[in-house]
């Protein structure tokens, strides 16, 4: 993330001169302040609210994975609930059957997610748009039932996991410890995603999304990059699944219904499909809107949910961050006409990075 910002800063230096450097430094400071704020936040909230925000961050990581695939590479997935399940079960089985400590289950979950994504990405090369969505839908509908078949997954009963204890001597309770743990993973995920997307790989992904033939003509190895996008995407989502298993302390096939996959796509679209910060907005949407809908109407919560979705998409068709981002950049441009041209082009190239900070504030 900081690298991303630095990259922007140096780009701007060329365009805008001295003044841009100060803004880069200021932005770094703002990001640092936001991280401190996010880390301090749980100490002012109730345990339940801390738990809710932890869930938000987990969903944000999952949606971030989906954004990489759908937003930056143009491949639609309706099956990310299945990869979320794969990560969750990797963590759960390792903890439950082999006594692996919870933090050590994340790398294997990432590996499983990556490998599954690569495997899935290969046949996905043959499909595009709605056809690919249907292929991935197969993953989502097959996962819960497949999990019931094996005894090592706990079958229908699921697996109960030992609750991770906070490190002794730290003096914080479990909920706050897990919040901080997930926050660190989220920050790492955002930074890795920003580095990838702002670099060669990200440019290749976006080129394929925007014009696959032109990308291939320019020498981008399309199949390789598309498969890689799939694997990277599912890696993020699987890590989120592992965190969900750890935080909830239980996995069962019913934890990973088809609706979860759809929620991810909804969260992704509402937040802004080709943004990093949008993932955090998506996390908030997935966590809070169903509850909010239930509070408004017991009888028809899903109608309210649908309505909320429509409102968001109507008001902000490119998602919250996708729509507000260019607006903010445009405003900044108005305030500093001298550097407007440079600023806007930088903002649209790197729409993700600057917005991520404005979204971080939401936390």
């Amino acid at each position: 993330m900081n690298d991303g910002t630095a990259a922007i800063a140096s780009e701007k230096l060329a365009v805008g001169g001295e003044a841009r450097l100060r803004i880069g430094a200021w932005r770094r400071f703002a990001i640092a302040a936001l991280i401190v704020l996010a880390a301090a936040l749980p100490f002012g909230l109730s345990n339940y609210q801390v738990f809710e925000l932890t869930q938000v961050m987990i969903y944000a990581i999952a949606v971030l994975g989906l954004n990489i695939l759908t937003g930056y590479n143009g491949q639609i997935s309706l099956g990310h609930g299945g990869f979320f399940a794969a990560g969750g079960y990797t963590a759960a089985v390792l903890m439950h059957r082999y006594g692996v400590p919870y933090w050590a289950t994340l790398p294997p979950a990432a590996l499983v997610g990556f490998a599954l994504g690569l495997l899935f990405g290969l046949p996905a090369l043959r499909f595009e748009g709605p056809y690919l969505a249907l292929v991935t839908l197969a993953m989502a509908v097959a996962t819960p039932q497949t999990l019931k078949y094996f005894s090592w997954t706990g079958g229908q009963q699921g697996l109960n996991l030992a609750k991770p204890a906070p490190p002794p001597g730290l003096g914080i309770d479990r909920d706050r410890w897990l919040y901080l743990f997930v926050l660190v993973i989220l920050l790492v995920a955002i930074r890795v995603a920003a580095n990838l997307l702002n670099g060669r790989t990200g440019r290749a992904w976006m080129a394929i999304r925007d014009h696959p033939i032109a990308a291939a003509a320019m020498g981008v190895d399309t199949p390789r990059y598309k498969t890689l996008a799939f694997g990277t995407s599912t890696l993020f989502t699987a890590v989120a699944g592992a965190l969900a298993a750890i935080v909830v302390g239980f996995v069962a096939p019913e934890s990973f219904s088809l609706f979860l996959s759809i929620s991810f796509l909804v969260g992704s679209a509402v937040g802004g499909i080709a943004t990093i910060g949008g993932a955090i907005v998506g996390g908030f949407f997935i966590e809070f809107v169903p509850n909010f809908a239930n509070d408004i109407s017991d009888a028809a919560p899903w109608a309210i949910y649908g309505l909320a979705m429509l409102l968001f998409m109507y008001a902000m068709p490119r998602g919250v961050v996708g729509s507000l981002g260019p607006l903010a950049a445009w405003l900044r441009g108005r305030l500093r006409p001298a550097v407007a041209a440079g600023e806007i082009s930088a903002a649209s190239n790197n729409a993700s990075s600057p917005q991520q900070t404005s979204q971080g504030r939401l936390e």
């Binding site: 738990f51 699921g158 109960n160 909830v248």
Partner: protein
């Protein structure tokens, strides 16, 4: 400065003590209870794949509304908070935490489904919140030693096996028993319950065969069980496999006395799948009145239930046996809360729940009563046997108890 601080600290400590003392003096209320209200939490799959069970939550809510209209429980109105978890365990955890920590409910009641209840089992026990009468029948909810805040309601799988064992010992003392069971906790609950129930004569079980839910059929298991020379067969299987088993037994000309677990005794599912004529004589067990059984429809108990259902706008569900079972669930928790009197602490709720003595409920089979004790968290231990006549189940014999004889 230091003095001031010390004084402040002293004063606030004194204040806390006083407040604590006051709370203790009035101390008959746990969180969520007051002179006017009792807050009860619940999760239900109102949406999603298990939404047909949502009727249970609707009956619960309607019954509490009726109790409130009649003046409440010992003068306190029930505030029943029921939320939709779509049968998704992580959602259940989240909603239950919200109800316990934010809404501050006194207890959780009738949360539905084995996986959702598994997910909140540890949390509720760690926080000493009663988890009364979850809508699931696994044996694990009856474990007062390790989980003193969770109490079963449905007759457990092993309770049912005990009842079959009792019948076998009495009526088929020389039987050789074969068991077909699903290879998981549920199937093993039945098998172990049967062994337990047979006690010293557990060696009557001459053969067992298990299946995985991924197996295409259980034909080979049935053939192997027949080869053991058994003349009694217990089928502890879900409908698909139970139907296959009954059909195969008939087709190979084996004629054991068959016991079919109540999990799969649906006429429209297992019996139809097996072929009605092939299931004649199969024995199963029941504990609640089937609302479609004509023998109850002229009784005052049925009419009262029907009137309640119609008045509550639930007339669309009067053939749903889940609605009679829900009616009995909610009557049980009302009886427990009534017995609590003015001591509505979580501890007293568990104490009263563990002190049920022969509680009779109108929509359970006549003769079935609920009893519990400090080391027995399984209220319903009786069932009545029923035999399939080619069309429907016919109750026969006495109500049988799993423990006594």
């Amino acid at each position: 400065m230091t003095l001031k601080h010390t004084m402040l600290a002293g004063l606030s400590a004194a204040g806390l003590l006083v407040a604590g003392g006051l709370a203790y003096a009035a101390g008959q209320y746990g969180p969520g209870a007051s002179d006017t209200e009792i807050k009860i939490g619940n999760t239900m799959p109102y949406s999603g794949p298990a939404s047909s069970y949502g009727i249970i939550g609707k009956v619960d809510a309607a019954y509490f509304a009726m109790i409130n209209a009649q003046g409440g429980i010992n003068g306190r109105k029930v505030n029943f908070i029921s939320r939709d978890d779509s049968y998704s365990p992580p959602k259940t955890v989240e909603l239950v935490r919200q109800m316990v920590e934010q809404d501050k409910v006194l207890l959780m009641f009738n949360t539905l489904g084995t996986p959702p209840n598994m997910a909140i089992h540890g949390y509720l026990n760690d926080n000493k919140v009663p988890q009364l009468f979850p809508a699931t029948g696994a044996d694990q909810w009856n474990d007062p030693k390790h989980f003193p805040w969770t109490m079963l309601w449905l007759p457990s799988y092993s309770t049912e096996s005990h009842i079959y064992a009792h019948y076998i010992l009495k009526n088929l003392p020389n039987a050789k028993i074969a068991v077909l069971y699903q290879n998981d906790d549920y199937g093993k609950d039945y098998l172990n319950g049967l062994r337990d129930g047979l006690g010293a004569k557990a060696n009557m079980i001459v053969a067992t065969q298990s299946y995985e839910t991924s197996d295409p059929t259980v034909d080979s298991q049935i053939v192997a069980l027949q080869a053991s020379g058994a003349d009694v067969l217990l089928i502890a299987a879900i409908p698909k496999f139970a139907a296959q088993a009954i059909r195969k037994v008939y087709d190979i000309g084996w004629k054991p006395t068959q016991f079919l677990n109540s999990v799969a005794n649906g006429v429209g599912t297992t019996m139809k799948g097996a072929g009605f004529e092939k299931g004649v004589g199969v024995i199963s067990a029941a504990f609640a009145k089937d609302p479609t059984d004509p023998q109850w429809q002229n009784t005052p108990e049925y009419k009262e239930w029907l009137a309640f259902m119609n008045k509550s706008g639930l007339s669309g569900s009067i053939t749903d046996n889940q609605a009679t079972i829900a009616y009995s669930y909610v009557q049980t928790v009302v009886a427990v809360l009534k017995a609590c009197g003015n001591d509505l602490t979580r501890e007293n709720i568990m104490r009263q729940a563990a002190s049920l003595r022969d509680l009779k409920l109108p929509m359970l089979l006549p003769g079935i009563t609920l009893s519990t004790s400090a080391d027995d968290f399984s209220p319903i231990k009786q069932m009545q046997l029923e035999k399939f006549d080619g069309k429907t189940w016919q109750l026969f014999g006495e109500v049988v108890s799993a423990t006594g004889s």
